[in-house]
């Protein structure tokens, strides 16, 4: 089973809808330990991405992902903007010219994306950032592929790991991003970026997994 170009477009569209739905939720999470804008930022970005959909109708996966990245870069701002932009730009580099992705291709793209976020933000595991959702998710995907799991299952295990990583941010004291200014007071709250990252991979499981 592979992931088609159309499925990728579906994923992006579905995620834009998920963001719209979770805008207030993400902003509320950010209000507790940040500056109350993560939902609005992501929403502004993915609304702009939706506006690009028509011009992407016949493009390859690399172009689609790079366009998403460039659009996020110039519309989101804040920390989330460059990080998610880098995520999609890096994934787009690895998928340049491709019209469909094998599980291995998908892994390679996700790995580049996550490394891009690490490189850009210099956060480590347990700094209470999106890295805490992305890295376990990437590892879970890797293992699933090695275990010979189906694409659907691999994507589900990936999303499940992201969810656990997101939840594991709750007790952490933030060391990166705006929440770090709070010191000990940041403990007890779920990281908004880890949450939007989990939602991205959950949407992937839902949309790409049935492809």
């Amino acid at each position: 089973m592979s992931i088609s170009r159309d499925a990728i477009l579906e994923w992006i569209k579905a995620y834009a809808a998920v963001i719209e739905e979770n805008k207030t939720y993400l902003t509320d999470l950010d209000a507790a330990i940040g500056d109350a804008d993560h939902g609005a930022n992501m929403h502004r970005g993915f609304k702009a991405v939706l506006g690009k959909m028509s011009e992407l109708a016949d493009k390859d996966i690399g172009t689609i992902l790079k366009t998403v990245g460039m659009t996020l870069l110039s519309t989101v701002g804040g920390a989330g903007g460059p990080l998610y932009a880098t995520f999609f730009l890096q994934a787009g580099m690895k998928t340049a010219g491709k019209m469909e992705l094998t599980p291995e291709d998908w892994y390679t793209a996700l790995e580049a994306a996550v490394n891009g976020v690490k490189m850009r933000g210099k956060a480590e595991l347990e700094d209470k950032t999106m890295i805490d959702a992305l890295v376990p998710a990437l590892n879970a995907l890797n293992e699933s592929i090695h275990d010979g799991a189906s694409m659907t299952e691999a994507l589900q295990r990936c999303a499940q790991a992201a969810k656990e990583g997101m939840e594991a941010t709750i007790p952490l004291v933030a060391r990166k991003g705006r929440a770090s200014y709070l010191g000990e007071r940041s403990a007890g709250h779920q990281d908004p970026g880890a949450t939007s990252s989990y939602l991205l991979l959950k949407t992937a499981a839902e949309v790409l997994g049935k492809a």
């Binding site: 330990i33 110039s74 903007g81 010191g183």
Partner: protein, 333 residues
């Protein structure tokens, strides 16, 4: 929380339209990407200075564009750092051949976006130096964290660097002034009330009628601790003590004392704060040679204050006194 706005999504757009109508003698406003640039930019042979950050801190930065201060400002959405394309275009618009200084406040988003913009500008052949201001002593400094936030010193850095650039100093020299401000300036703030981000519509945090937040940032982030409200003099002590003990200021050092209003605090209270801050500085043997009192780096309608102290040498005093002509700060011209 009530606001004089039309549409939360259009706050920055309409503010920029207002600025364009109000100050055509000082600035041009470019839309899409958004930036505010000196009416006479680029100035041949002068180092260009740009800054930027989320909106909601007015007059910073847009109100500081003009002769003797910034060449351009990039406003992001409210409390959200602007994007690299804005910064790139602004950098190009102010580049007069002598290079461009990026004055960046230390927030992950601002730093990353400015980094990407600087890379893009360099790729287009523009020499760029970036200085990241991180003066907020409310935040513990550490190699393993994002470090301290950039707050009040930014305003002072923009003034001093603007004067240095106006004098014809080189990019490295202007950046050196900025690094001095970064090294010699410290700030700390507090809030009596929260602010409300327009698209959220409710206060970012709830603060009971008898409590305050100490060590607040400028984005409605909660502070380092919450406590019962105290008399102004005690509050000022709580802000001044960490500032003074952070840099080993020496007796006899000359300082600029900047008492900033967070947006919703009236001037009458800022003078009460200044009175005590001055007394404390003097008691520590510091000489307050210049001051600035008013709402210059704000957090929407938040009630509260921040204090910035910047040690200065003779050159910095000269740069402070140099003429400045912007909507938000003006003297000597």
């Amino acid at each position: 929380m009530k606001k004089l706005i039309n549409d939360p999504e259009r706050v920055v757009q309409e503010e920029l339209e207002g600025i364009a109508l109000a100050h055509p003698d000082l600035v041009k406003v470019h839309f899409n990407p958004n930036y505010i640039v000196r009416a006479d930019a680029p100035i041949k042979g002068k180092v260009g200075i740009i800054s930027g950050g989320g909106s909601g801190h007015e007059p910073m930065h847009g109100g500081f564009v003009g002769l003797g201060m910034l060449d351009a400002a990039c406003p992001g959405a409210v409390f959200t750092s602007p994007t690299p394309d804005q910064m790139l275009e602004a950098t190009k618009a102010v580049s007069g051949g002598a290079g461009v200084l990026h004055i960046v406040k230390n927030y992950t988003g601002d730093v990353m976006n400015f980094e990407m913009a600087a890379d893009l500008a360099k790729a287009e052949g523009i020499e760029v130096e970036s200085v990241v201001i991180d003066d907020d002593v409310a935040v513990k400094d550490s190699l393993y964290t994002a470090g301290r936030r950039g707050v009040g010193s930014t305003v002072l850095a923009e003034k001093l660097c603007g004067a240095a650039a106006e004098e014809g100093r080189s990019l490295k020299e202007v950046a050196d002034v900025c690094r001095k401000v970064k090294d010699w300036g410290r700030s700390m703030g507090m809030a009596l009330t929260s602010c409300a981000v327009p698209h959220v519509g409710k206060p970012t945090f709830d603060l009971p009628e008898d409590e305050m937040e100490i060590g607040i940032g400028i984005h409605g982030e909660p502070g380092r601790k919450r406590m019962k409200i105290k008399p102004a003099d005690e509050i000022v002590e709580m802000l001044m003590e960490p500032i003074i003990s952070d840099i080993p200021y020496k007796e006899g050092d000359e300082v600029i004392l900047f008492v900033n209003g967070m947006g919703g605090t009236p001037l009458i209270e800022l003078y009460i704060v200044y009175r005590k801050a001055y007394e404390i500085a003097t008691k520590h043997g510091l000489k307050v040679v210049r001051n600035l009192i008013g709402p210059y780096i704000t957090s929407l309608e938040m009630a509260g204050t921040s204090i910035t102290m910047l040690k200065v040498d003779e050159d910095m005093i000269k740069l402070w006194d140099a003429p400045v002509k912007t909507a938000g700060l003006r003297w000597g011209i």
